[in-house]
């Protein structure tokens, strides 16, 4: 199985290469056809702050129908009435009235390369990020050049009946799908930030995979990153019909520079009978961003959901990808990495709800804190009455690199069924001086030794990433470690 996956990854890499080589001038009308550009006329900023009028303006600017407008308004009321969550990271720095909830991103928004902080530029250098990509990631360019490659892939997927587009366009084209699924996994009432997202959402990805269709190349937001995807309040909806299989990747290892201080996305995934979805995230927002994201998958009979969630950036992250195992045989996995440096608090974890017999879940979390950074693992496991024969395995490991840093674990296990199996392991360790000495005695510098130990620590999860991401990840670890030791 592992070999097949590895094979798939290699195949996809070579396929993408072929696509690049054969990429020819594409029809201009692709844009209109697939909606990868913002369709709203002119760049617009409705100003800072949020109220009913601004929400109506957003909806009007998107020429939405009443159904969505009502959803937004209802959600806004929920947002207003819900208190700030006080159980997690410190969110006092969020000033809701200072935030611009809708900025139509076009070239107007681009900043100049000179404004990009030096530390970000250095990271691009060390990671070997191509020039064109750097400008995009730093918000200097709003378009990423691999679009040509992307469109060729898109045509292929399109022939299979897959719908993959930005969420705004998808809503216009397939409102009936939205009526059925939008907000069904994560209703606005779920939490304050899900409500906020529902009220002001823009962009994000929409994916529908028809019955029995399996795609061996990851669908990547990477290829089509434009301002819509990278938005503050993106909304992603994925529906994998019976027996289908896809992998989706969002984000990238390189730091993403933004001056927006709040990123609050919602990702809803529906996995039908025998379907399988893997959703991989590489989050490296610049360290001024509050990253408060709600992600949830509903998994039906014998379906499989895998979240692979890597958090490197942001000032504060609160994110607990969830699996709701609703029918017999459903399986969910949440694999996560968090690396918190100076001034960062990454509060991440997972949630698994076993609501049917013979469901299984695997939660594996690896966190690293350094230079005064803070990581928290927060997990919730529920096995409901009747979910006989369910199995769950949870392991969370934290690595602390110095005495200034901090890590905490907040696990909650609620089991209302007798006949189940539950394993829970947690460990906290410091970088072991004896390991350092051992590696150094072979000729490695202290920084090399430490970064090797850290890479090894997260290896069980990194090996699940596509090869190019795994390599970038290791390069990034080396870089961070070189700066923090000695």
């Amino acid at each position: 199985m592992k070999n097949t996956l590895q094979q798939q990854k290699t195949n996809s890499a070579s396929l993408i290469k072929t696509e690049v080589a054969t990429a020819v001038a594409i029809n201009k009308d692709y844009r209109e056809k697939y909606g990868f550009k913002d369709r709203i006329a002119n760049s617009t900023d409705i100003g800072a702050g949020i109220n009913k009028t601004t929400i109506k303006k957003i909806s009007a600017l998107k020429s939405e129908d009443e159904w969505m407008l009502n959803k937004r308004i209802q959600a806004y009321h929920v947002f207003e009435n819900k208190p700030m969550p006080s159980w997690g990271a410190d969110l006092n720095g969020i000033k809701f009235d200072k935030i611009h909830y809708f900025v139509k991103a076009t070239q107007n928004r681009a900043r100049s390369w000179d404004e990009v902080p030096r530390v970000i530029k250095t990271t691009f250098d060390k990671l070997g990020i191509p020039q064109a990509e750097r400008k995009f990631l730093a918000g200097v360019a709003t378009q990423y050049e691999s679009e040509v490659v992307y469109h060729n892939l898109l045509e292929k997927w399109n022939k299979l009946g897959i719908i993959f587009s930005d969420t705004d366009s998808a809503y216009k084209l397939y409102p009936e799908i939205f009526h059925q699924y939008f907000g069904k996994a994560i209703p606005a009432t779920d939490n304050k930030f899900a409500a906020l997202n529902t009220a002001v959402w823009s962009g994000g990805s929409f994916i529908y995979v028809p019955k029995g269709v399996k795609v061996d190349i990851p669908l990547q937001a990477y290829f089509r990153i434009n301002a819509q995807n990278m938005g503050q309040f993106e909304r992603t909806l994925i529906i994998a019909d019976e027996g289908s299989q896809i992998e989706y990747i969002e984000g990238c290892t390189a730091p993403v520079y933004t001056t927006d201080s709040l990123h609050s996305a919602v990702v809803e995934i529906f996995i039908k009978k025998n379907a399988r979805v893997r959703y991989t995230t590489l989050q490296n927002w610049s360290t001024n961003v509050y990253n408060l994201v709600t992600k949830r998958a509903l998994v039906y009979e014998n379906g499989i959901m895998e979240w692979v969630d890597c958090n490197l950036g942001s000032k504060v992250t609160m994110k607990y990808p969830s699996v709701y195992l609703l029918q017999p045989g459903a399986h969910g996995e949440v694999l996560s990495i968090a690396l918190a440096g100076k001034g960062q608090h990454l509060d991440a974890g997972a949630k698994a709800i076993h609501a049917a017999p013979n469901t299984s879940s695997l939660i594996q979390s690896k966190s690293i804190c350094k230079d005064g950074g803070r990581t928290s693992y927060r997990g919730m496991l529920k096995i409901l009455n009747g979910a006989k024969g369910s199995k769950s395995k949870i392991s969370c490991d934290a690595l602390i690199l110095d005495n200034k840093s901090r890590t905490d674990t907040y696990p909650t296990n609620i089991v209302n069924e007798q006949n189940v199996s539950l394993g829970h392991e947690a460990s906290v360790s410091k970088v072991n001086q004896e390991q350092l000495f051992y590696l150094m005695s072979r000729g490695l510098t202290e920084a090399e030794a430490a970064s090797l130990i850290v890479s090894g620590f997260i290896e069980p999860i990194v090996k699940e990433l596509p090869m190019e991401y795994a390599m970038e990840m290791n390069a990034l670890i080396q870089m961070t470690m070189a700066g923090s030791v000695g």
């Binding site: 000495f437 005695s441 072979r442 090797l452 090894g456 620590f457 290896e459």
Partner: protein
């Protein structure tokens, strides 16, 4: 020449070495014996640069260069290698990737080996040690048996080709066949290339069935109480350490 001169050392204010003198020349094999707690392993760690020990007096030089001031990685670069008594497990770190990194840091730019060439080098050395090739794909000591770990130390030694090697109880944990393989491999390594000097630390006399040392040292309570040629071994076999107390 690895030269230890009047070495006094302590750990947590507890004196553990009381004026050690020992000189290991290129191409020589020395055996350092002594009961548990006599300070053998402490000496090994001090040689490799472990930070927990305080050296209050004395010098260690390697081919004339001061070793005591150097960090562990610099000592490795100078040509010293310690095969650990208890090799550490480093989870998730692939043995081959790690060893290639260690190997390449010691090579001039043009001699650094790419992945494939290094794989071949490792295979060749593994053959010498009659190592199962699957071991090469494993993570560094992770989940290895005691014997595998010890063999893995010698594999590292064989790849890194130090000038001076200290084997801290490499023999314990190895069965007799493995012991034979390891020491015959070491002899081959001593003949090729660098004329490696080896200090074998042990408390098993069975070691003398596999090697004929140039010198044997007996250590008791932080001091070397007897040094000499193979004749010492006969004395030891006859009456043990009691003779020295």
């Amino acid at each position: 020449m690895l030269k230890i001169k009047n070495l006094h050392a302590s750990i947590n204010n507890k004196k553990i070495l009381n004026g050690i003198n020992l000189t290991l020349k290129p191409g020589e094999i020395h055996v350092l014996m002594g009961p548990n707690g006599s300070g053998k392993s402490s000496l090994a760690k001090i040689l490799a640069g472990h930070q927990d020990f305080d050296v209050s007096l004395g010098t260690i030089t390697l081919d004339g260069k001061n070793l005591l001031e150097a960090a562990p990685d610099i000592r490795s670069e100078m040509g010293l290698f310690l095969a650990f008594q208890y090799p550490l497990e480093v989870p998730g770190v692939n043995l081959r990737n790690f060893l290639r990194l260690a190997y390449n840091t010691k090579q001039p730019e043009l001699k650094k080996l790419p992945v494939f060439a290094f794989k071949n080098l490792m295979r060749e050395k593994a053959k010498l040690l009659e190592l199962d090739e699957t071991l090469l794909e494993r993570n560094l000591n992770e989940g290895m048996s005691g014997g595998e770990k010890k063999k893995c130390e010698i594999l590292q030694l064989a790849v890194l080709e130090p000038h001076y090697a200290i084997l801290d109880e490499t023999d314990s944990g190895l069965d007799l066949d493995a012991l034979k393989t390891v020491f015959s491999a070491l002899k081959k390594l001593m003949k090729t290339g660098k004329r490696m000097g080896i200090l074998v630390i042990t408390h098993y006399q069975r070691i003398f069935e596999y090697i004929k040392p140039d010198k044997v040292h007996i250590m008791l309570k932080g001091s070397i109480v007897d040094s000499g040629d193979y004749k010492i071994v006969k004395k030891l076999l006859k009456s043990g350490y009691k003779h020295y107390t």
